[in-house]
Symmetry: C2
Subunit: 274 residues, 2 copies
């Protein structure tokens, strides 16, 4: 299958162009894409260099590249669009109709979305990340009073990455507590968790998938046996039912999906937005 080069070109980090482009190209599963990000294209010289890089990929009869871009300045966008390839730029597509609807002129300032403009949001994300780390894995802090949500589930059900993602992406204060033999054998949760029962959210997962994940970490031993895993999951799900804890099966979900489902289900407010 012939390779199709995809560029994500941005006057800033390229995160928006990457996210946008990824949503679109994943609709074409049969294609062979090679992805390249060209960030910080914020001068005319850099824009011309980007054009050279893009044009080079189409030499010798290779198919035209796809260029997803987020370039605020019209003069830089114009230069980048001189390269070969299909150009899809969100400011080109949407900025004018948005300005019309708002009855306001855009500021054409690059770096607004992920930049210096919001130090307050930066601090909130950092503080939320520190919170997640201090309250990871039942951690020493147990500042459950200020937690927005407390994830519970067996080891490797996805609690830690989900908490970190909620913190970094949304500034949400997410703690997590692992269900271990103590809870699983008695079928009860400790009082310091039950005091915050309305903040609890459970993660569960299919046994086969959890076995794969655990074996990646510890190939041998009790921890990764099918029998142990089935026991833990069955008992953890009983606990969710017993206390009426909302929960999600993470088996086929990405970290983004698990996080979105938690926010959607609990109604926890995003403190910042990406």
């Amino acid at each position: 299958m012939v390779e199709r080069v995809v560029f994500f070109v941005s006057d800033q980090t390229g995160v928006t162009a990457e996210t946008l482009g990824h949503s679109l190209i994943t609709q074409f599963a049969g294609q062979n894409f090679r992805q390249t990000t060209l960030p910080f294209i914020d001068t005319e010289d850099k824009a011309r260099e980007a054009v050279r890089v893009i044009d080079a990929t189409a030499a010798n009869g290779a198919p035209h590249p796809i260029v997803f871009s987020t370039i605020v300045q019209p003069n830089l966008r114009k230069i980048v669009k001189e390269s070969v390839g299909l150009h899809l730029d969100i400011f080109d597509a949407f900025l004018e109709s948005l300005a019309d609807e708002l009855g306001a002129a855009p500021e054409y300032l690059s770096g607004r979305a992920h930049g210096v403009s919001d130090i307050d949001a930066y601090m909130k994300r950092i503080e939320a990340t520190n919170f997640a780390l201090a309250n990871d894995d039942g951690g020493v802090s147990r500042n459950y009073d200020v937690a927005d949500v407390i994830l519970v589930g067996v080891s490797r059900s996805g609690k830690t990455p989900t908490c970190l993602y909620l913190a970094l992406q949304y500034g949400v204060y997410a703690a997590n507590y692992p269900l271990t033999e103590d809870e699983l054998e008695t079928g009860t949760l400790p009082d310091f968790l039950l005091e915050h029962k309305h903040k609890l959210f459970g993660l569960t997962i299919e046994p086969e998938r959890l076995r794969d994940i655990r074996r990646e970490r510890r190939p041998h031993g009790h921890y990764s046996t099918t029998q142990q895993i089935r026991f833990e999951l069955r008992e953890s799900e009983k606990i969710f039912r017993r206390y009426g804890i909302p929960n999600v099966n993470t088996t086929s979900f990405s970290i983004e999906e698990i996080a979105s489902r938690i926010l959607d289900s609990t109604g926890v407010e995003r403190r910042v937005r990406p």
Copy 2:
């Protein structure tokens, strides 16, 4: 200032719609936006319910809402577009020209971007997150052989959130090592770091900003004094110069920007893409 409601509507998590919309609305700084995400709009019933929610915000003469959406299924998109407001949808805007360029029909499958389709990418991000946690703050593991990059800098210069972001977003293996009295007073780095000198990347920050960040954590004491902070930053920058370690001043950058600048400067490959 009259409030303008902004919706991010998606058949999946809403992350793409949020990212896209945020890039656009931040170009209009003077406006008063209230942002709401409606994720998992993946049936006709849910689409009709979304229309009711959107229409309700425009009752009583309130200005029309702005609706950023990423809805793959044309029938669901059609329903959502029946609501009042300005509708900006990336599939509407870009899918057809992309299909033309690729000479292929889109699959119209929702959930491709952040979903079940890529368990391998999920595992890579989890493993990278585990690596970042095990190698945080000079951590016990010091698996620097498999690190893609090792961030160095003084306490609270932004190392930990940047490593976690690189892991979660891109599956990059990022370790970090804090420069403490040992290194700062001797001006030398330990051998176990110098063995991987080509992987080192420095973070620095303005003294005033670092003071604010440290005082948030510990309002009093040596750690947060201007004198101590100036000493640490001056000596850490000397170390960067002495060993030729590329570095970035994080003062006015978001986590996304710091991460992008590191990838751009080091040439470290993204193992997965958002």
